[in-house]
Subunit: 312 residues, 4 copies
């Protein structure tokens, strides 16, 4: 349960205040506004504000005076056209803001997406909570034998037990020493009046990378799609992929037409190189093409056959 | 009057639909939502959407679960602190979207601000209206004799009449030839069935830089402040300054605490160099400092004395 | 001939000074350094500086202490891998700077690429030259009958003559009036001592969008590839496409391995949507798929068949 | 000593290859090219490439065909003018690339500067070295009693000993467990053939935030100045400030005129708010102004008096 009762009360207070607006609203997204959607063992994603909807994409593409919408079907056609031809600027006209709680090693991947606004909880000023990411047993993967950045089988038995024990013990010990060095407890109360306490900006460096941090993260729809396409991809690390999947759920509520076009064109599709396209054209013409006469390397050929769902 | 009756009807239709939201709202800004604020002879600025308010700045700075606000006075103190110490990221957490109609030569200055999202009306697809910026007589400035980028006295008499006539005639003639080359009237109706008509993407290049274009422009609060501080500055060209001043009015409605801090710290203040600061310190200590023993060039000295409001 | 003798002399003076450096150099690119490559009737592209080469991409991908290169073949494999999997950050580690002369309507498309650095010749300070883009007869295209943004046949006979005459006459007249309003000739000499002259920042607005401007434009390799992929595309307007093609030539000199991978994966390939990929898989399995049972719209189907080079 | 003998050999190999170029060179910067400049206990900054010099700033400001330089004195005047009036785009025309080794908690502050290019050593693919930041005793600061983000006195005696011991022991233990979980030693050799080893992307999360990472970091001169002005500031955390100070040294070698103007206008100066400016004007006019009649809060007044170097 990621929120404390006080935090939960703040969320509920926000959900209790209904206001009138002349702006576009998206009732399906308002249903979950402010509410934490759980991710990993202590993390969450909360939508805390948004601006625009599918019609705003259309409105911007047409630079119109009123609402973009003529008919939903026409809007969908235009949105699919924009997505297919990578006309990205109309998607930049919608904006969304999240409050995210996530382990620092995930935050370090996430922050590489530069076209976004971020305010992170500061461990220079404040004391971090005692919350660390410990993988569920089914996510305790071994190093892949064939792929330097991939995961292999799940660890089992004694090795798994040992790894979990090390992660738990080191996290707890490092945190206890963090508190000891600070000479303050989690609530900021001084522990030993005889000591001064190490400055917060230094003490934090004793915490491991699986400690949770949190931030406000705001981005436009185009960059959100880009984030999801990279991070909900099977090649992304599991621990950030689960966040991207929750973002995808919020996307479907917020801009359903855009989400559908995105899943068809960007998530589900495949990019063929000039060589790959030539191979497909030859195959469709009935030729029996082999890797050797394709002009492609073995690795490229293997990836193409996988995309085309063919036995190699 | 910048809008046609049809456009005005679309604006009014948008203002008629009130919806419920759980998001933050700013009633003072909603009062003018969608309505064109006139600028120059045919231009306008319309706020078409917004996200966040002063409290959202505070909320982001604190990375809090609920609303940022404790008390307005505390919020104002924090906002002033952020402004003073150039902690800019919390201001990035608010976003605003405008629909702007402006002459192309102004648009070319405006677009240099890169951290914004833009969708411009496309003269590749569509036919531009017959609307050109012709300065009011009091803005028909001569070249400054002392400043290569500045304006001097206002032109008068025959010279002024001649300039206005040239601007009006060239605009009208170029537009008529644009229509003739297109072989379509403003509404897209073919003029001469015997002719093919030049493609729109080429015909537009016969239009002068004072023709009006329009765009949707969306930016975050931090970058809006940056835009206003540069473009509402007395050194900015008059024709973009009047747009920046209208943006400043919308800023005051949207985020009054931020606007106040901004006007105090960024618009009204002065930046002293190390040398300038040393001069002020010596003067305050009672010394009679002259340019010659200030370490500053004559130009730098003149600018410092102007900032300090002292006779040179 | 785009440069004046004085400008040509400055270029040659730069090409005469050879210096020693410990940095990476690219002799094939140095061959054309500073030299104008002609584009359109008065435009050019000049490479004026660069940083990095193919090996710098490899070096950044490996975060190595020395040069990235092990063997050219290994480097090429890595660069192709990065390109295929859209690992874009190593390509950001190379930078190039151009001096470009181009018509303003082309500059307005170009500037939409925001991740670049630009310094444009200022018509607030300086007087523009009397140079306008007038299309060659074979580029005087009619509006496409089927595509609102496309070009159709080339105009011929009287209509073509009339269009060229209008473009030439309006350009010349607007320029002459610009000079008259300025009360200065091209070299800045006052014409009539009795008149004050309109300020430059206003007079320029009488010039049509086919007048030439110039700028320094600097970008990283990743964003250069993005620019070329969008602007050397057949859908791009001819007048910017010819600039993109010259940029592509400089790319091939600068980073030949990257250029080759780019042309294979990005320029020559095709992106299939999930639906499109499913169609290809069914066809490869021997099924006779029709648009009606493809789940695709007619337009999407037509575009897919075109990409696969099949009759519809 | 931050580099291994192998790494040192790679650096020396790069310094041995002299090449000819037509580009601008900066001999003072080439003197230290590729060489590690030590920072903290295991960190370094290495300049690995650069593009442009002071003259390139001038050249871009003038959009000239040849070298910007007329005379050094004129160039300096123009650079000071650009700096004073915040004309930032000409400074974007120079670019520099660094290889930096730094603790992760410093990297997390550094990465917040978004307008830069980064390639970081990947702990998903590779095994990190056993190197952790342990502060020198004189930098072991207590939390400030008056400033929530500041440092107070240096810890002494037993408390200091205890803190250093905790930091050292926790770093070492976490690293040993990292290796144990990986089931690989630092060189990638399998430790126990019976075990599978936890995947690298998970094992790394057991490392504390004081572990060293490294990256290639490339930025333009304008954004470098911005970075230095924020991070070499006395309010910045000591551990990033020492990096910013080394960047400042490289800046002085690279673009001495820009560095001088920057240190005068941006590092050494002070920004006065409208209220602060009014106070200074009244004081210079001989008035004895007090906080109570200044319109400023106590905190603002205190900061103003400090900037003016006056007793409060």
């Amino acid at each position: 349960m990621p929120l404390t009762p006080e935090q939960q009360a703040e969320v509920e207070a926000q959900r209790d205040e209904r206001r009138e607006t002349l702006r576009t609203t998206v009732p399906e997204l308002e249903e979950i506004l402010y509410q934490p959607l759980s991710v990993l063992d202590h993390g969450f994603v909360r939508v805390v504000d948004y601006m625009g909807d599918d019609a705003a994409v259309v409105q911007a593409a047409r630079v119109s005076y009123g609402k973009g919408t003529k008919a939903v079907r026409q809007d969908e056609g235009l949105i699919r056209y924009l997505m297919r031809h990578r006309h990205t600027t109309p998607f930049e006209m919608c904006e969304i803001k999240y409050h995210v709680k996530l382990p620092i090693f995930v935050a370090r991947q996430w922050i590489r997406h530069r076209t976004a606004n971020v305010n992170e909880y500061s461990a220079r000023y404040s004391i971090l909570d005692k919350e660390f990411y410990i993988p569920a047993p089914q996510n305790l993967a071994a190093q892949s034998a064939v792929n330097r950045q991939g995961r292999g089988d799940v660890l089992e038995g004694e090795e798994a037990q040992r790894v979990l024990a090390l992660l738990r013990d080191d996290s707890a010990r490092c945190y206890d020493h963090y508190i000891e060095m600070l000479n303050e407890d989690e609530a900021g109360k001084v522990l030993d009046e005889e000591r001064q306490g190490l400055t917060r900006e230094l003490a934090r460096m004793n915490l491991p990378l699986n400690v949770y941090t949190q931030w406000y993260w705001k981005t436009d729809l185009h960059n959100l799609l880009h984030f999801i396409s990279l991070r909900a991809d099977p090649h992304a690390q599991y621990e950030i992929r689960v966040y991207a999947e929750v973002l995808l759920e919020t996307l479907r509520r917020w801009v359903p037409l855009t989400a559908r076009a995105f899943e068809d064109y960007r998530m589900g599709g495949a990019h063929l190189s000039a060589k790959g396209l030539a191979v497909v054209q030859r195959m469709l013409a009935g030729e029996d093409v082999q890797q050797e006469d394709s002009g492609m390397s073995k690795r490229e050929w293997r990836e193409l056959m996988a995309a085309l769902d063919r036995d190699d």
